[in-house]
Symmetry: C2
Subunit: 282 residues, 2 copies
Amino acid sequence: MAELLKGGPVAKAITERNKQAVSELQSKGITPTLAIVRLGEKPGDLAYERGALKRAEKTGVQVKQFVFPEEMTEEALLDEIGKINQDDSIHGVLMFRPLPKHIDEKKVCEALAPEKDMDGITSGSMAGVFMDSPIGYPPCTAEAVMEMLDHYGIVLKGRKATIFGRSLVIGKPVAMMLMARHATITVCHSRTKSDDFVEAGRDADIVITALGRAKMIGADKLGEEQIIIDVGINVDEEGNLCGDVDFAEAEPKAAAITPVPGGVGNVTTAVLMKHVIRAASL
Amino acid sequence: MAELLKGGPVAKAITERNKQAVSELQSKGITPTLAIVRLGEKPGDLAYERGALKRAEKTGVQVKQFVFPEEMTEEALLDEIGKINQDDSIHGVLMFRPLPKHIDEKKVCEALAPEKDMDGITSGSMAGVFMDSPIGYPPCTAEAVMEMLDHYGIVLKGRKATIFGRSLVIGKPVAMMLMARHATITVCHSRTKSDDFVEAGRDADIVITALGRAKMIGADKLGEEQIIIDVGINVDEEGNLCGDVDFAEAEPKAAAITPVPGGVGNVTTAVLMKHVIRAASL
């Protein structure tokens, strides 16, 4: 039976370290402060926000909420971002995306000061991830994958990792972060031939899935005794949350596997707080 | 016998297109102009510079040479970069690296305006490559690899490419550019286990080598009927130029292979001119 790589203990351990860092900052009169920028009331955004608020409270991070109507103009949003950039009491920003369609999301992301970009949405942060250089911050979910691997003591150096998915939020940054830690990487995506897809899945020591396709990775695409980190959060035919991996098929073959829900998703807000604390320390 | 993927015809074709673009710019009163910044008189720099000057002349691109003593201070160099950034008659900059050790190379690279960064040395250009977004310019050698593949009509979509090397100048950007064109990528490097290294080499449809190790990729690490692009330029035991691939062993197995010298290396200055022309057009 595979080891179950739960996110909860990872989030808890990060939060313990975060709390320590917060009390050190507070002794210097600094309260790490996160701005959350949200347009409209999308249920997904609200759910994540609740999680972030709870995590912030546990950690000792202050949150300032900037909630605007969905109809807000791009100009007005840019104006608010400008104010936040200049507000020294705010150390970092989480902005929910996608933004409404009438707004040029790229432009708004770029308007954010890279040093306040807690979730890897600016080109500065992207360059930092690509160059393995301390500019900005990686996307929280991508870093949460690394936190999971490290927490459970999984060796990366010289191991073969296959990443399913090439998004800027997970697939690409995780590939870069694994390579910086000396893993050999293969990135598969929607245009990968099906034979190659299967082979890359079976051949890997570590499998990371971020496809957003319910139970797409079954036993046929997996090898024996692998480490499986499932970043997908999908809804299956019965309306239940599930990952990209078919857990029932994968678990008996795997050495270790993340559950969905209860895996990587539980770690992202702890990483977000870590970023805010780092930003407040600089 | 493998098709020989020579760089000369590729450079010539790019230069023909470049010349066309230059005459269109000239009819608008614009002469695309490249600044070459060089500290000291390193033979490698001088050789590349001669090639660039020749290519510029053929293309109709003007070159302004900024040659400084190796002892130049960082401050003085930053000052010159600042002036070049503000000089509207200069569209792009090629700066030879590595810079002398007393200079913070990262700082100097970042000082360059991304829109004048012709060779992918700023974090702006790096973000552009990573995000597949038109910010800055990819490193010329990385783009030269793509030009080779395209010139010879090599299909990328859905094909398996193995990249040997993870440098910021070639390995990583080529991996990103191949993935943007829908190839499935594997990146191997010095920490890849030898079995995995061999397997990744044998399994690929397209092999790109940028290791800087003479004849390291022999027949044992290659499959049948592959496309092999060798970016390495090394000196073998007999003092002759050679690639990362053992050409004599690889050629009989390959479908197509670049010679070294005479391969990718011949294409980089043509790509450099393409970048200058694009910068002058914006």
